[in-house]
Symmetry: C2
Subunit: 327 residues, 2 copies
């Protein structure tokens, strides 16, 4: 295959993979080679080419970057080291506690292959991680606050769905307005988990189930809900589908710092997303471009984080064009 | 001089230079070697060492980075090429139209010297430039909006002060709330200059001056005020000193984009600064660290923009430390 475009492949065809497939059309310097999937083409409902997960090395010279769209829980830890042997990769690995170990594992494989693997890309971890670093570096004395929401937490929604008597459920993480207001005023409050986010749960109960029992099971669930103020609403399956089937999300990183003699300075980065997976997909593609360009320029081999990537590598434009209209 | 700290010098001792002097105390990995000034030490009112602008090459081995704190209008174009011959530099050059030409000029000198000069650092140009690039790269289809304020514009304040009958004046640039609200809603409005910012002017008139005449001279002044809605308040010198002697500023960069089938996605970066020069100083120091580390690592020589700097170079921490608590 000859091309002057960046040749992208997708691995995994869930919400994220579908988002990447759509986003490639918005990036004229890229083209989609195909989608790696364990499922047969018929099961995928796509017009894109479906590539076999067997013998991935056969595509070694046809693909510049593989965008890894599997889940952190099961897929990425296994698949990324497998693909990093032959391809530059980007992924959205987000199991925070395991990131250092994951970094080491991917680094080893990608270094040996002379490829670059940008890990934990997206918005958090990802853009929020960069903004937290900017905050600390530009205002060394201060506090950093991250709030998430309003948005759907898949993990919390699933936890509710496992409760006996629950047919379906969606959980929103909602930042507490008064906490956010205090932070924005530069008051530098110390905030407990309870004071930062409310958990709003929309639950469809099975017929005849005891709603109060379900409510108690939710609000007292350790790790997931016990440390927060949790509000439970029982609604019909129909209402859930109508009003709560989107995947909005967002949040903000605020750095509240001081300079000189107690001068208050505030930096804030916020996202307001109608679709969490589509935005993450779009960010993944910007970093796919960076992986390709960095690898060609010989800057990096091995595992790389969003902090290692010079912003200009994310852009299809060069310095001259950017200096004219963006600086 | 032996040291494991980054050895910083300041060139120019106005608001920015004073800000850098204070900010060094907040960065334990840095130390101040001294301040380059054309003025004698007695005129400077500082306990720091004052260095002569004659024979700057004598300090070649004693200074890692010179933070250039002169003004864009007169100082930087001359001084940065002079210092880039011997030192890594960072500056806040912000005459937008001249940036490409300035970049070329500095690049030549710094390349020959094997040094790095990071130009146009601060918040705009600077952090805002990075966020504009992030916006375009992560949401290729969309519009970018930059609003400034509420904050003091030195250039506009000076323009008012030159009007006959004006004793003193302070001008605030204020974003129009309804324009910002439309952008935040994802409406992607086309906004004229007039629809983006109001100009608020606080003016002290000479005794006996015709206030209406002054008001007309301000609101009709081409380039500065004629294209905006401008509000003029006449106040006493005392009130001006009491209420308008700070240098607050801020603003926001908003990227309003679409993914997939018309899904609205919004990214916003905002600053709320009690002191514009102190914040800029603090950002300059973070980039001074980056200039030092990049030059040691041999990544760059010559003129460099904020887009070229991997975020991790701004931090005193290494990847391992950052992975644990910031990703």
């Amino acid at each position: 295959m000859e091309s002057s475009k960046i040749r992208i492949a997708i691995c995994g065809y869930g919400n994220l993979g579908k988002g990447v497939e759509k986003a490639i059309a918005q990036n004229p310097d890229m083209e989609l080679v195909g989608i790696f999937s364990r499922r047969p083409k018929e099961a995928l409902n796509t017009t894109s080419k479906v590539l076999s997960m067997e013998n991935i090395e056969q595509y070694k010279n046809d693909i510049d970057v593989v965008v890894m769209c599997g889940g952190s829980a099961n897929d990425l830890e296994e698949q990324v080291p497998m693909f990093a042997k032959y391809f530059n990769t980007v992924d959205s690995f987000d199991t925070h506690a395991k990131i250092p170990e994951y970094y080491e594992k991917v680094d080893k494989v990608a270094c040996e292959a002379g490829r670059i693997s940008i890990i934990s890309v997206g918005w958090d971890p990802g853009l929020f991680s960069i903004l937290r670093l900017f905050g600390e570096a530009c205002l060394p004395e201060g506090n950093t606050y991250t709030f998430w929401g309003k948005g759907v937490s898949q993990g919390h929604s699933n936890a509710i769905r496992r409760i006996p008597g629950v047919k379906n459920a969606v959980q929103y993480t909602v930042p507490m307005e008064d906490a956010v207001a205090k932070v924005r005023k530069g008051e530098n409050p110390e905030l407990t988990t309870r004071q930062k986010h409310i958990r709003e749960c929309y639950v469809v109960a099975e017929e005849g189930a005891d709603q109060e029992e379900i409510r108690q099971a939710i609000v007292n669930m350790p790790n997931y809900f016990a440390d927060n103020i949790t509000v439970v609403y029982f609604i019909s399956e129909e209402e859930l589908k109508q009003k709560h089937s989107g995947m909005p999300h967002g949040g903000f990183v605020i750095r509240s710092g001081k300079t000189g003699e107690n001068t208050k300075q505030l930096m804030e980065f916020s996202l307001n997303l109608e679709s969490n997976p589509e935005f993450t997909s779009s960010v993944l593609l910007a970093y796919a471009r960076a992986a390709y360009k960095l690898n060609i320029d010989g800057w990096y081999e091995g595992a790389t984080t969003v902090w290692d990537v010079p912003p200009i590598y994310l852009s299809p434009k060069n310095t001259e064009e950017l200096l004219k209209h963006l600086l």
